[in-house]
Symmetry: C2
Subunit: 376 residues, 2 copies
């Protein structure tokens, strides 16, 4: 894996990551393809929106259909018909949030599947093995995502465990050269909201040495201000020449604020999940299409968008589809939201390239605050 830092605009960075399955333009937003599908989207739609990479979930895929099954079928790219880069998470986050009876030990996490109750053991070594079987271009170390709030003592202990797991992950990871590039492994900085812990975590991860560095344990209930404060002191601790990935974030405003602080990569279920429930993200802020004001409105969500879901269907139709629980409602709103997220990333990349990111942020905030067009 090769990271090229093209230019910087204050702390915001423009770059690209070369992977075995192609280039990722950064800052990048990675749509989440939990169970080998970005929900309610065809893979070629996801790609056409400008998504250079999607995320796959180790926890879900190890349970169904199973990592060995995916490997026998040619890997995750082949399985889900996605020929661009894939990043897989380690499974740790979902094990702790979704699985039943998860028991954490030095060795790893023993848990029961939330689907059929079968027992599994996820260790740092097994997580890396699974991610290799899936064929991930970028693998993540298994970590413990420290819950919020956590005392300094609890956060320290948890972060130290994650460090030992990171060491074990690095030890068993093989880069598997392919297409003139290498599969990559990212470390994950933990330490909750504590600067000293984040510093220790970052330094020790850098000593182990990873291809990229994620910031974990955020967007877990601490609120945007606390999250940005953690970013303020954490991103400067990370190597300038490696990509930085803020895990599980976030709203459009979160992305803009984090890019302003030097983050390069994001993933979040928000655009697709919110879409399925009738919430649209737009340049003019959030729109709840379930609201009665849209019921008779012939206007599209965003007449200027290149995405058909945004520009070709009336609000009245989208309102109707979501109200009726129609598949097409979820399909069109997920499509719109992902289109907007990728438009936002492209606009940020253009602004950084032209050294006008501050202006971009000011305009963005103004438009978001303006809100939706007036009802008819």
């Amino acid at each position: 894996m090769k990271f090229t830092l093209t230019t910087e605009d204050n702390l915001a960075r423009l770059g690209s990551i070369e992977t075995p399955h192609g280039i990722i333009r950064t800052p990048a937003f990675m749509p989440v393809g939990t169970a080998a599908t970005v929900k309610a989207m065809y893979a070629d739609q996801v790609k056409a929106l400008g998504s250079d990479i999607v995320l796959g979930n180790t926890y879900h895929l190890m349970l169904r259909p199973g990592a060995e099954v995916v490997a026998a079928l040619g890997g995750l790219h082949q399985f889900m018909q996605w020929d661009a880069p894939i990043l897989t998470d380690s499974g740790g986050f979902q094990v702790m949030s979704l699985a039943k009876m998860a028991k954490l030990s030095e060795q790893g996490v023993l848990f029961q599947s939330h689907i059929d109750g079968r027992e599994y053991m996820l260790t740092p070594e097994r997580s890396i093995e699974i991610q290799s079987l899936l064929g991930a271009d970028i693998s993540m170390v298994l970590d413990e995502c420290t819950a919020f709030p956590a005392s300094h003592e609890v956060a320290d202990k948890s972060m130290q465990l994650s460090l030992r797991w990171a060491q074990r992950s690095k030890k068993v990871f093989t880069p598997r050269p392919m297409n003139g590039s290498n599969h990559a492994l990212f470390g994950i900085v933990q330490g909750s909201v504590y600067e000293d812990l984040r510093r220790t975590s970052a330094q020790e991860l850098c000593d182990i040495g990873f291809d990229g560095y994620a910031i974990g344990g955020l967007a877990v209930g601490e609120g945007q201000q606390a999250m940005l404060e953690v970013l303020d002191f954490t991103t400067p601790l990370l190597p300038r020449k490696a990509p930085r990935y803020l895990m599980g974030v976030g709203t459009p405003d979160d992305l803009v604020e984090a890019v302003a602080r030097g983050v390069d990569m994001f993933d979040c279920v928000m655009p697709t999940r919110a879409g399925r429930h009738g919430t649209l993200y737009t340049w003019a802020g959030k729109v709840n299409i379930r609201n009665a004001r849209h019921a008779h409105d012939p206007r599209p969500i965003d007449a200027n968008s290149a995405c058909p879901a945004s520009s070709q269907y009336s609000r009245a139709y989208l309102h109707h589809l979501i109200r009726c629980g129609e598949y097409l409602g979820a399909m069109l709103l997920s499509w719109h939201n992902l289109a907007f997220y990728q438009e936002l990333m492209a606009a940020m990349r253009a602004a950084i390239l032209e050294n006008r990111f501050d202006d971009f942020v000011a305009t963005f905030k103004q438009r978001q605050a303006q809100g939706d067009i007036e009802p008819l």
Copy 2:
């Protein structure tokens, strides 16, 4: 509306129907777009498969979003972004099967919405008004779909009511010329399994005079053999120069058998509904993708199909998606099934044109009986 009978091959007919929104090639299969969407499909996918027309449901649309709302938004074509022909049913069938407390009288049907319990009165006149507001290219008269089984007396009484309603429907229908064509109104032959009743119904409908004639009250539990026997004596009663529409039918085999008996049009939820539940229709018969035999199978459903859903994804992937309840599973299987149905219709049209429909039927039956490819 203009119906052109291009050629006949025994009883099977090849033709075309000219409507305000374009040509329908017959025999035609009409995908069902219940609530202004063919479930889990984009309208342009439906069209690209060779669907010349879709069906919209008066019952669902009168409840949500309401016929007047659709009219104010430019009609159903504009609302659902479908610029080809639309046929709407009369609402009668769903009122009796879905609504609460439906009370039938000479005047019409008084019922409560299954969604919010609101009370509505559907009369022949209101049904025609609703279908005009929706902008249907082809409207259907309100009828009573006689339940099965029904005694001769009950079936007679029900059929006579449908005839009086047909008369009232015809009286208030205006053809609304558009694009050099006219909106059309179809009558519906009832009479359960009784030949004398079907004869009376057909004759009196012909006396009233309609643009096309539907055969209703079938596929309601009587079984394929009984249905085909009714077709055997009913289609000869219908005018040669008007399209014949078998409502709510059916399986691929039903379509082939009915075309062989001179039917020109069909609608059915089967391809999309079965798709959502994991059942695929193919040239080699039915395939249940939930079956464990597909879990590790890298082969597509039908490598020879032009539809990506049929040829580009492994059975293992489709199995996985349906098992996980993923949107994409419903999307891909509905897509495959509709593609197969339209392939089947195209193959039947080609066979009739080349005067080899009997051979086609024999080959079709052979392939269906052969069944799916062997498991790996």
